[in-house]
Structure formats: C-alpha cells, structure tokens
Amino acid sequence: MTAEAPAHTPEHHDGEHHTSTGLSNEKLAMWVFLGSECLLFGGLISTYMFNKGRIGPDDVGPNDVFDIPFTSVSSFVLLMSSLTMVFAVSSIARGDLRGNRIWLTTTAALGATFVAGQVYEFTAFYSEGLGFTTNLFGSAFYALTGFHGAHVTIGIVMLMSLLVMSMRGNLGPERAETVEIIGLYWHFVDIVWIVIFTIVYLFPQ
C-alpha cells in the first residue's frame, strides 16, 4: 500500500504541525511495514534452510544447478540499484527533477535487469531438471527467491509510477519524501537479497 502517495507540502511541516515522533505518518508506516517484512523473509529463509538438505542423494540439489558467477553479477546489479536509488532521492531533494527522472529510470532498469536475470536463472534451472515440484530443495528455493523477485517487481512498478508522476509534473521537491519512502522499500529488498544470496548461494550445502 505504498501507493498511499503522501502529499505533505512543506508548510505542513512548518509551524505547529508535528507528529509525535517527528517522522511523517507515511514514513513511519513504511518502517513498521518493513519490520513485518523482516519476519516474512525470516520465515521463508528458515523454511529454505530447514528443507534444503532434505533431499535424496540422487536428487537435483544446489550444487547441480547454481551458477555462482552469474548470480553474483545480477546481485551486484541489484546492489548498484540501491546506489542509484540514493541518487534519485538526493536529486529530488535538491529539486533536480531531470536528475531524479534519470536516476529513477536507472534504478528501475537495474531492478528489471535483476528480475530478468532471475527469470533466466529459473528457466535454466528448470531445463536442468529442477522444477517447483521436483523436490524439497526446488520448492523451497523457488518459493524464497520467487517471493523476493515479486517484491523487486512491485518495487519496479512503484518506481515506474513515480516516473509517470514526474513526467506529468506531479512529482516536485515537495514530494521528495514519497521518493524517499519508496527508496526505503527498495533498500530493504536489496538488503534481503544480500542475506538470501549469502545463505542460498554462498553456503549451498
């Protein structure tokens, strides 16, 4: 529900108008929501760790399918998108609308590259014999990375929506916080990926 585009105008923050914490409602809500998301991914990661070893010796396992160099590159791409997201936030805060659009586009593009990489990876794994229903590793792997991919995709949709708003002139510096809040989500999704990448790919067995 991040589409709850906050619309604080600067004068809202002037004078007497304060929230009790000083954070806007929208930003606080995003932090609270991300707290909940931690447990969602915590549950999925635990499920993966619980299940990854529970396959037979002849089953398709992590070592049979993982292509670490490829995933490292796509992880790096996703990591870079966090950097560009930072630029997007700082540019709109300065009032640099053009720069903001460029960085939003770049972030979305990097995110899309990551998702495309994931789609490619899934296809490759499937052709190597690891389907969602093949074994416990397959079910747990696709569920975990699939949920993460869905989160990235939703992030891309939000970034594109921001871009459309910006094109239509609805995203000025007064809405810098909107970009910042979506940035929070984006950074969270990236950090979660670092955890997933480490646990799933770097310690596969």
Binding site: R54, I55, G56, P57, D58
Partner: protein
C-alpha cells in the same frame, strides 16, 4: 435492589461457587475409576509424572483459593450501595465519594514479582529433573522393542523380541499392545500417513507418531491389567475411533502369548463354512489384511509367512531413498494383521469389543475360548465398515464396505476369522 434481595443474590452465588468447587473436589477424589484416567497411574512413568504434578496441583489450588478469596473479600468489604441508576453527572458516585487515591507501591510490586518467580524457579528445577529422567529411555533398551505404527485409524505393533529394529520383526499384531509386567518396553513410534499420538494414560504420557520421524518412548506397567488408550493427535475423519489397549501380562503368560503369536495360521478344510469363509476372505480381504501362513505371496510381494514387507516403512533398511515408502497404495495396502485376531479383546482400532463378556474377569489368554463373540458387531463391520466407523474408503483410507457379500458369505467369513486364535 433491597438489602434482602442483595443478600439472597450473594447467598445463591456463593452457594453456586461452593457447590461447583465441592463437586470438582468430589469428582477428583472419588471418581477415580476411569479406564483412561491420568489420576490413577499404574506404570512407572505415569507414577513419576503424577508425583511431579500432584504437589503442583496443590500449590495451584492454594493460589486459586487465595485469589478467589481475595476477590470475594474485596467484593464483600469494599462494595458500596446506592446511586443505582448512575444517571447523575457523577456517574454512580457522589461528588465527594473518594477513597485514598493510591497510585501504587514499588516494594509491593517487586515483592509480587519476585515471590512467584522464586516459586516457579523451584518448580522448574523439579520439572527439569523429572523431564530428563523420563526422557532417559535407554534404561529400557533391554529385550523387547516394539515398533508402533499409527495409520488412519488403527495401530500396528511390530515386535522385535531381540530389540533389534533393523531386522524384520518376529511377529506383527494390531491395536492391542501386550507387554510383560514390570519390564520397560521400548517403543519406536512411527506413522504411515498423518500425525497420530500414542497414549496409554495409565502407563505414560503421550508421544506423537510423526510420518518421516521415529520417536523413542517407553512404557511399563507395575501391575497386570488392560489399559485403554486413545490416539490424541487429530488424524482426520475417524480420529475419535482410533483407540488402542495395552495389556500387561505376568512374564510367564506373556511368553505363552508371544509363542502363540509366532505360530502361523492353518488353512481350514475346504467345504466347511470356515473353508468357504477363507475363500471369500482371500478374494475380498487379503489384498490388505495379512494372515501369516495363509495370505499368498502375491498379495504382499513376499513369502506367505514372512512379515509384511512394509515393516520397513521408511525404506531405511532397504537401501531406499531418503523418504519413506509412503504412497497412496501403501496406505490402502496395509491393514491389521489378523493372524491371531481372536486373541484380542477389541477390533477396528479398538473401537469395538470383540467379545460381549470381555470384562476383566476373563483372563486375557482365555478370551478366544471363554469369550462370547460379539457377532453382530463383527458382521456389521465386515459388511459395511464405514457405517460403523466413519472412513474414507474412496480415497483409500479405512476399510471399504463389502455390501456385496451375502449374509451366508459373512457368516462364513466370521467362521473363518473365529479360527484365528
């Protein structure tokens, strides 16, 4: 409300409370003779548990009376009457009606945090000691180990008289677990389908039968007797009808029983009702039920007198894969071993008595001879089991109806079954 009416309300509510408490006390003290009661344990483990919990029940009872007494005392002492309608500006109270406005007392708070903490710490020490003692099941790793297998909705017992569960069992029986008195019998609890829980309340607490897992447990009885049990983990449609019995026999009788169990059945003579019954049985029943010595190898994929090949339900001794060999077909293919059906007091997951007069006064080993067969129930079961005990035979769970059998067929089958002693 007048003072008199108020008094009556007080009196009646006190009477209700006192009456309830009295009833509960009477029920617990007097009403002990229940076949599944946890309050009158006979097994060593059950007694250990009772010894642990009974003092705690008393402590809890004391706290109960203290708190409820405090509530009643405060009610009695500090209640105020008047202003019943409460319609004034000051609610139910007069404007100057104030007790001391105490806000709290830190010492008191700390005291009533620490006192229960200490009390619970003491209890937890006793708990941990008992817990690890009860869990020390290696003490019982002597002779007999029984693999207990839960399946919708009955129990299978595979006896390993040498305690070695890696080899095929010496014999297989169902629903009634017979143990020698005074001996810790190790149980290896498994499941073929969903989660069940094995529980003989008078002997020990329960332990879940989880598919894919093998749980060690132990039971022992200090005295001979028959002890009821009930599957206590919800296991689907007929969970309520999934019962079992533990029978503790003196050692000599146990050996007699054991030797009988290892004897295969003999084929009845052709042309007799028993022979006809066997013919029907082998067509209608033998694809699931085993009768050692009779049911053919083709039915089970092994020698006729060999143990069922699904004793090794996880395939772990079979060089199998990691998973158990749990398939839809297996669930259907496994049913109680009937080789010595007539030696058991109950059938159909111990949901029904096999003998009408099977009270404790007939010695267990004499059931087949001295018991009056519960013929009506048995016939009803054979002809339409799901009607007697809900089953989902279409989905291969539980015994399907055999409504195609004529009354004569059923009589013959019962006659055949009666030979299985």
């Amino acid at each position: 409300m007048s003072g008199r009416a108020r008094g009556l309300v007080w009196l009646s509510s006190l009477l209700v409370i006192a009456g309830t408490i009295a009833l509960i006390v009477v029920a617990i003290v007097v009403d002990k003779d229940h076949p599944l009661s946890t309050l009158s344990p006979v097994g060593r483990q059950g007694r250990d548990i009772a010894e642990l919990i009974n003092p705690i029940f008393i402590v809890a009872g004391v706290v109960f009376f203290l708190v409820q007494g405090a509530v009643l005392a405060l009610w009695w002492r500090y209640r105020v009457a008047g202003s019943e309608t409460g319609d004034g500006e000051y609610g139910y109270y007069d404007d100057d009606e104030f007790p001391d406005q105490t806000h709290g007392n830190n010492r008191l708070e700390i005291a009533w945090t620490i006192v229960p903490t200490v009390l619970l710490a003491v209890i937890s020490v006793f708990t941990l000691v008992a817990l690890f003692a009860l869990d020390d099941v290696k003490a019982s790793d002597e002779d007999i180990t029984v693999t207990v297998i839960g399946q919708q909705w009955w129990w299978e017992y595979q006896y390993h008289l040498d305690g070695d569960t890696d080899t095929p069992p010496d014999f297989v029986t169902a629903n009634e677990l017979v143990i020698p008195v005074g001996v810790d019998v190790a149980l290896d609890i498994k499941s073929r389908d969903v989660i069940h829980s094995f529980w003989i309340p008078k002997l020990n607490g329960k332990r879940d039968a989880v598919p894919g897992r093998s749980h060690d447990w132990v039971i022992q009885s200090e005295e001979p007797g028959r002890f009821r049990g009930q599957c206590t983990e919800f296991c689907g449609l007929s969970h309520g009808y999934m019962k079992m019995v533990a029978v503790a026999l003196p050692t000599a009788e146990f050996h007699q029983w054991k030797n009988n169990q290892m004897t295969p059945a003999e084929a009845p003579a052709e042309g007799t009702p028993e022979g006809e019954g066997w013919a029907t049985f082998s067509q209608q029943c033998a694809s699931c039920h085993v009768v050692n010595g009779l049911t053919s190898a083709a039915n089970r994929g092994g020698a006729a007198d060999s143990p069922p090949d699904d004793w090794d339900i996880y395939g772990e001794h079979n060089g199998g894969s990691a998973g158990p060999v749990l398939t839809t077909e297996l669930v259907a293919g496994a049913a109680p071993n009937l080789t010595h059906l007539m030696t058991r007091g109950t059938f159909a997951g111990s949901a029904f008595d096999l003998y009408l007069n099977a009270g404790d006064h007939i010695p267990y080993l004499d059931l087949a001879e001295a018991g009056t067969l519960n013929r009506g129930e048995l016939e009803a079961w054979i002809s339409n089991a799901p009607e007697r005990k809900p089953a989902d035979a279409d989905d291969l769970r539980g015994m399907p109806a055999r409504t195609g059998l004529s009354p004569t067929d059923i009589d013959n089958v019962v006659a055949f079954l009666s030979t299985l002693d």
